[in-house]
């Protein structure tokens, strides 16, 4: 199989231009592409639209891109832990499109799977339903929602191989596999990169067909938002 390895994050994100649409995996700070976020920070681009369940915190994750004013719009389900985000939003510098988490996940999944639209019950009777087609099936109301696709999707996996196959760990999986499939170009950073053939085909979470570039990341911080321990 063709070798999809690139040298590092800088090479992986080199051609990401201003004003494009990015998807970034992760839930909270878990499973976020730390290396690619750092590499994006070094680039002189702005006007990004980012699809990500959350928006990071002030000094980590997508919060860093916000602080550098690289982001025009966030498409997320929950953005609550970020003061700079709040400031930019209230000042009108930043747009935000808030989407129910399951609808966000399904829209991304639909983007990767070639389903342009689908019906879902989430948001019926709420402001999320405004302007959307609704329809009854078996006595229950549903909203028509459309697919989400991106120019680039950037995901973080635990293990990967040179053919682009990915295995995630724990709840760091979250949006990563569905976003991998929904980006025209998918960039995957992994903690451990092995040769094609070393991963069990039966255990692959994301088949390599979805991944265009892969590299082994360095220095993962894996910051914890809510360190909670048993007493």
């Amino acid at each position: 199989m063709i070798n999809k390895t690139v040298k590092n994050a800088r090479e992986a994100v080199a051609d990401i231009p201003s004003n494009c649409m990015l998807m970034m995996g992760g839930f909270g700070l878990t499973g976020i592409p730390e290396n690619c976020i750092s590499a994006l920070l070094e680039k002189d681009i702005t006007g990004l639209t980012i699809v990500s369940n959350n928006a990071g915190v002030d000094d980590f994750g997508i919060g860093l891109l916000l602080k550098k004013r690289m982001v025009k719009k966030m498409i997320s389900s929950y953005v609550g832990e970020n003061a700079e985000f709040e400031r930019q939003l209230l000042s009108g510098e930043l747009e935000v499109d808030l989407i129910p988490q399951g609808t966000l996940a399904e829209r991304v999944r639909a983007g990767g799977a070639g389903i342009p639209a689908f019906f879902t019950p989430a948001g019926v009777g709420t402001e999320v339903a405004e302007g959307k087609e609704s329809r009854e099936f078996d006595g229950k109301m549903y909203l028509l929602e459309s697919w989400l696709k991106a120019d680039f999707s950037i995901v973080k996996a635990w293990k990967g191989d040179t053919a682009g196959n990915l295995i995630f760990k724990g709840t760091a999986r979250n949006f990563n596999p569905i976003m991998a499939a929904a980006g025209k170009i998918c960039i995957a950073e992994v903690e451990e990169l092995v040769e094609a053939g070393e991963l069990d085909p039966n255990q692959i979470h994301t088949p390599g067909i979805y991944v265009q570039r892969i590299f082994q990341g360095v220095n993962y911080e894996k910051r914890i938002e809510q360190r909670t321990v048993s007493k």
Partner: protein
């Protein structure tokens, strides 16, 4: 009046053996502490875990294993991991039997508001809209009144809605109430020491009182 822990404890009595349950942030998370040991239930976390275990000890902490409230967790025996689309497929598909979540307001026809206050910073609905639109059984854990003393059980929600006609039962610091299919809060139980009259005063929506209202038993 019940403490938050007592609300959680009372809700835990609603849990049935073999159920798959999604617990929201806040009081609902506390419910896990009161589920009797003889019941085998599975807690779902919408970020991709079935079978949430106890919080980790210091040396068990894994940053790659968190719940939907972003707290570090462990995995129970027999748990499984999956992506966000699969997770909400589970929820929407009705496979999760019971959802317990907090609310700012509930209306007498079962509408719930819990995601947005006009004029305040909007943080987003997270998975709440999917959960309330999907689960067959939704129990709300909340304070009966706001800090300023106003009823949160209303004829109609005043805040933006999270979901319509979805709440089945409410456990507050004052009472256990069910939503009548015809509309109205059916008073089922009183908190210890709380009178029906007090609950009446604190409930702005239609309150249905049938027969003697027993005190809660824990």
């Amino acid at each position: 009046m019940l403490t938050k822990d007592q609300i959680a404890q009372r809700i835990a009595k609603e849990v049935k053996n073999g159920q798959y349950i999604n617990l929201g942030i806040g009081i609902p998370t506390l419910v896990a502490n009161y589920i009797p040991d003889n019941l085998e239930v599975v807690l779902q976390s919408e970020n991709g875990l079935l079978g949430i275990g106890p919080f980790p000890t210091e040396d068990q902490i894994d940053p790659d294993l968190i719940n939907a409230g972003k707290q570090t967790v462990t995995m129970a025996k027999g748990s499984s991991l999956f992506n966000s689309a699969e997770s909400f497929g589970m929820i929407r598909g009705g496979h999760v039997h019971l959802t317990i979540l907090g609310a700012m307001e509930v209306s007498e026809n079962g509408d719930i508001s819990n995601w947005k206050i006009p004029g305040k910073m909007v943080k987003g609905m997270g998975g709440a809209m999917d959960l309330v639109a999907s689960a067959d059984n939704i129990i709300v854990a909340m304070q009966h009144c706001s800090r300023s003393g106003e009823s949160k059980l209303l004829p109609e929600c005043s805040l933006p809605i999270t979901g319509i006609r979805c709440v089945k039962k409410i456990v507050t610091d004052l009472a256990v109430l069910e939503i009548s299919p015809a509309g109205g809060f059916i008073l089922k139980e009183r908190a210890p020491g709380v009178t029906v009259e007090e609950i009446k005063q604190m409930t702005a929506g239609k309150l249905i009182i049938e027969g003697e209202i027993p005190e809660m038993i824990f």
